[in-house]
């Protein structure tokens, strides 16, 4: 009877596999660390450019980029959200737009080029992005000016429409009488970072959306996280009755939260975006969520954002997110 060689892997094989696995894992984590570090460095560079160009007085630049659907409707793009600072003396949207138009005219006269174009090219230059993979959204009151490259012609396009993007920010003073909160605040003061908060915020948001679907007897929503450092990003699809309270359509909500330490508590900011798609409930989920304009959607998204952000800040104050 012939003896065949054993088919069990030898110790050398196991050793080689372990080394390969370790190098892959350490390589990928190093890569993600590198990307995270790069974004913060580039964000700082962009903010520095805004300071040097005397733009920071009128414009608020973000701490993070968003990865969202490209305005052309094909694929995704890195998105920079720049907000025209709101003045309390301008309760009317029209007044803010007039101030924006004056700013644009003055910028064009002094620099000899369009402000949105300048920011777009600066954005792709600093972040080293392909032009087709970048979008800058300028938020002026309730308006959204999107600047991006037409992927077919290669020309730069500016598209103005009502903004559906809501931004919330709050400085939360943590109460002294909650032992859990006091501990957390102590951690913030001691380390100068908020390492404990991002996973708690992520858990809170995931739980919020899961419960919403559970209560509505819908299947679990699809949650795609994008978390690094103090940034918590979640893209949640397969929702209903969130922005449209009557549950008309399937909805996709994108929440981007940043948290950082301030003197007597923490500062939380959230960017909330959303879109919707048709579909009779009880059947399949949509593959795409292109809706974003009908039914006063921007206003309804703003209302939803207020409610969600309020619940998040309340939970943080209780120390229970």
């Amino acid at each position: 009877m012939q003896n065949y060689p054993s088919r069990r892997p030898s110790a050398l094989c196991w050793f080689t596999a372990a080394i390969t696995l370790f190098s892959v894992i350490s390589g990928s984590s190093a890569e993600s660390r590198q990307q995270s570090a790069d974004w913060s460095r580039q964000t700082k560079a962009l903010m520095q450019w805004a300071e040097d160009s005397k733009l920071a007085a009128e414009w608020q630049f973000p701490r993070e980029l968003r990865r969202i659907d490209h305005p052309s409707g094909v694929g995704e793009a890195w998105t920079l959200d720049v907000r025209f600072k709101h003045l309390p003396s301008e309760p009317d949207d029209d007044q803010e737009i007039r101030r924006f138009e004056k700013f644009m005219t003055a910028y064009h006269r002094s620099q000899g080029l369009s402000f949105p174009d300048k920011v777009f090219y600066k954005f792709v230059q600093i972040f080293d992005l392909p032009q087709e993979d970048a979008v800058v959204h300028f938020h002026i009151g309730t308006n959204d000016l999107a600047v991006f490259v037409n992927r077919e012609s290669g020309g730069l396009i500016s598209r103005l429409r009502k903004s559906r993007f809501a931004q919330e920010s709050a400085s939360i003073k943590l109460p002294e009488d909650l032992p859990q909160a006091r501990n957390l605040r102590a951690t913030v003061r001691k380390t100068g970072t908020t390492v404990d908060w991002p996973p708690r915020i992520r858990d809170f948001l995931e739980d919020y959306f899961r419960k919403a679907n559970l209560n509505a007897r819908l299947p679990e929503p699809r949650i795609v996280p994008n978390c690094r450092g103090n940034h918590v990003g979640l893209t949640v699809s397969g929702l209903r009755s969130q922005v449209f309270t009557n549950g008309m359509y399937w909805e996709k909500i994108q929440v981007e939260t940043d948290v950082w330490a301030v003197t007597d508590g923490i500062q939380v900011s959230a960017n909330i975006d959303g879109s919707y798609a048709s579909g009779v409930p009880g059947f399949g989920l949509p593959s795409d969520y292109p809706g974003n304009a009908d039914h006063d959607y921007p206003k309804e998204l703003k209302d939803f954002s207020n409610v969600l952000f309020d619940k998040l800040t309340q939970a943080i104050k209780r120390g229970t997110p």
Binding site: G279, L285, P286, S287
Partner: protein, 144 residues
């Protein structure tokens, strides 16, 4: 099958299909299977083609208001003509109704842009043949 028999069958089929498809689109919209934009797009694509085909049938029905006498002769049609005249409009109606139902129920992950293209494609492919066949069937009746 006689020419008159096929005309009667097709005119009833076209009118019923017209109402049924518009009904499916309307019900889908009311159940939020279509957004307002998708609803208006669907109607914009479907209604003109359906109206043209149904218009032929309605014209024929108007022209044959009186019941034909026993002595009136109706020619026999070839099998292949009857087959094509029945099959193509049937496929056209099934395709349009199927697309609307697929979109409303998100079956097959059909995106709004694909839906629009598919509807237009279906109209182009089937509409031309169906229009030609039904034109030959009903136009002859009006000229007689």
């Amino acid at each position: 099958m006689t020419e008159r028999g096929l005309r009667n069958l097709m005119s009833v089929f076209l009118i019923v299909s017209h109402v049924a498809i518009l009904g499916i689109v309307l019900v889908s919209f009311m159940l939020h299977g279509l957004t307002e934009t998708e609803f208006s797009t669907s109607l914009g694509i479907i209604a003109p083609m359906l109206a043209t085909l149904t218009g032929l049938a309605v014209s024929y029905i108007i022209s044959s208001k009186k019941r034909p006498g026993r002595s009136e002769h109706s020619t026999m049609l070839s099998g292949v003509y009857v087959f094509a005249t029945l099959l193509l409009p049937l496929l056209f109606v099934i395709a349009v109704a199927g697309l609307v139902i697929m979109k409303a129920t998100n079956y097959g992950g059909i995106a709004p842009e694909q839906f629009k293209l598919a509807l237009t494609g279906t109209e182009t492919i089937f509409g031309a043949y169906t229009g030609k066949l039904l034109g030959s069937l009903f136009e002859d009746a009006r000229t007689q």
